[in-house]
Amino acid sequence: MSAAPQAPLFVREMGLPARFGLYFLLGLFLLALDARYTTLAQVRAGVNALLHPAQMALAWPWEWAQHVAGFFVTHGELVVDNARLREQRDRLGMDLQDRHALVAENERLRALLNLPTRPGMSAVVGEIMETAPDPFSRKVVINRGSGHGIQPGLPVVDAVGLIGQVTRVFPWTAEVTLLTDRDQDAPVQNLRTGLRLIVSGQGSDNQLVIRFLDMHADVQAGDLLHTSGIDGVYPAGIPVAEVVRTEPPRHTPFASAYCRPLAGVGRYRHIAVLRPEPAVAAPASKGGRR
């Protein structure tokens, strides 16, 4: 240690240029080795393992300081950000709800459009505007009236099945009595046995009843009831209800059966009124256009 700084009296080493030349060649060799081959990866990894803790230790206070500074600087920003994001979230939530509603409505409208039209009937698609403010009846007002060819007595369906009947008609609107109204009946036919029945509303949105059922009638839970078409009001074959359970006679000589309406009675906004086609379609006259 003591003799280190002084130059030795007798120099026994290579001259400076020679040593530099050697180091230069060694450097070039290393460069070429590292650039062309991967043999130095191990060496590099080893040296890096030694250096890395030092690097981490050096970086730590630096990062910590930045962390603290960031905490204080950004607190105000966080408050602003938070308010802005909250507002944005609410707006997006509303948008999302709108979107859900639109998607569902779109699906129902598509189903209505795909409604197989029955021979002799055409569908007038309408929208429910309001429900009658009467707790004892199930009636809705639709935005189709006599101006659209609606007449009293026409059946009203949705994409699945019957939901009611037009009972009153105004020029641009019409009142529809739903299947579930207390006074509304529909003649149906058991799809399984062909038995003709009459289902009546009960004033409940999801229950229909068959009163005065013969106690030996072949009606079981799960039977599907379609319109029979013998009343001249409803066309035959519109799905109406599914039998949920039957009740044996108790105080009356008749049994009864409770049914669930198949269509979304009282649920959706879009319906279709089945309108009879004019008896003879007017032939399209080419001459009339000229």
């Binding site: 240690m1 700084p5 180091y23 040296v47 250096l51 050096l58």
Partner: protein, 179 residues
């Protein structure tokens, strides 16, 4: 007795000669300085503290820091910066060699006069690294990095002053007046 200039020209004051641990500690500090996580936006302005310290010791005590030290430090820097092995080693060796060639002249100058002579070395080292990188197909060379050499030259005086104070070298002995 008298604080005036002595009548006869005096030699260098007696100073504690630098020791090997002192030199290595200095170099380690410089290495730590260059390993600091500098922000990427000013990274190209950060001078090569290791090379500057190395040159300082090569001027002051060439037997304690020579080409071998330069090469080893260069390899360390290569690994730490993740560049090709030998790139900085080569550059450090070259810079050290140039400085050792003119060492006899440099050691008689004070820091202010050393600056213009060392600036080409510092800038040249950056240019050498960039050139070698370009030559070895490391794609685009960012010539802004040459600024690090200029900044290094500007920081040469503070660096010399700092190391002088750290190693207990009196102010006046930094350089002998030429002539």
């Amino acid at each position: 007795m008298n604080g005036d200039k002595p009548l006869l020209p005096q030699g260098a004051e007696l100073v504690r000669p630098p020791t090997r641990p002192m030199v290595y500690l200095c170099l380690a500090l410089a290495l730590a300085l260059s390993l600091l996580p500098w922000a990427g936006t000013i990274r190209w302005l950060v001078p090569d503290f290791v090379l500057m310290t190395l040159l300082y010791w090569n001027i002051r005590a060439p037997r304690l820091a020579g080409l071998g030290t330069a090469f080893a430090l260069g390899l360390l820097i290569d690994v730490a910066h993740g560049v090709l092995m030998g790139l900085n080693a080569l550059a450090y060796c070259t810079a050290t060699f140039v400085v050792l060639m003119v060492r006899r002249r440099l050691e008689n100058f004070d820091a202010a006069r050393q600056t213009p002579q060392l600036a080409p070395v510092l800038v040249g080292k950056e240019a050498l690294v960039l050139g070698l990188g370009l030559l070895l197909g490391h794609g685009f060379a960012d010539w802004r990095w040459l600024a690090a050499g200029v900044v290094g030259a500007a920081l040469w005086i503070p660096l010399v002053w700092t190391i002088d104070r750290l190693t207990g070298r009196p102010e006046s002995s930094g350089a002998r007046e030429p002539g």
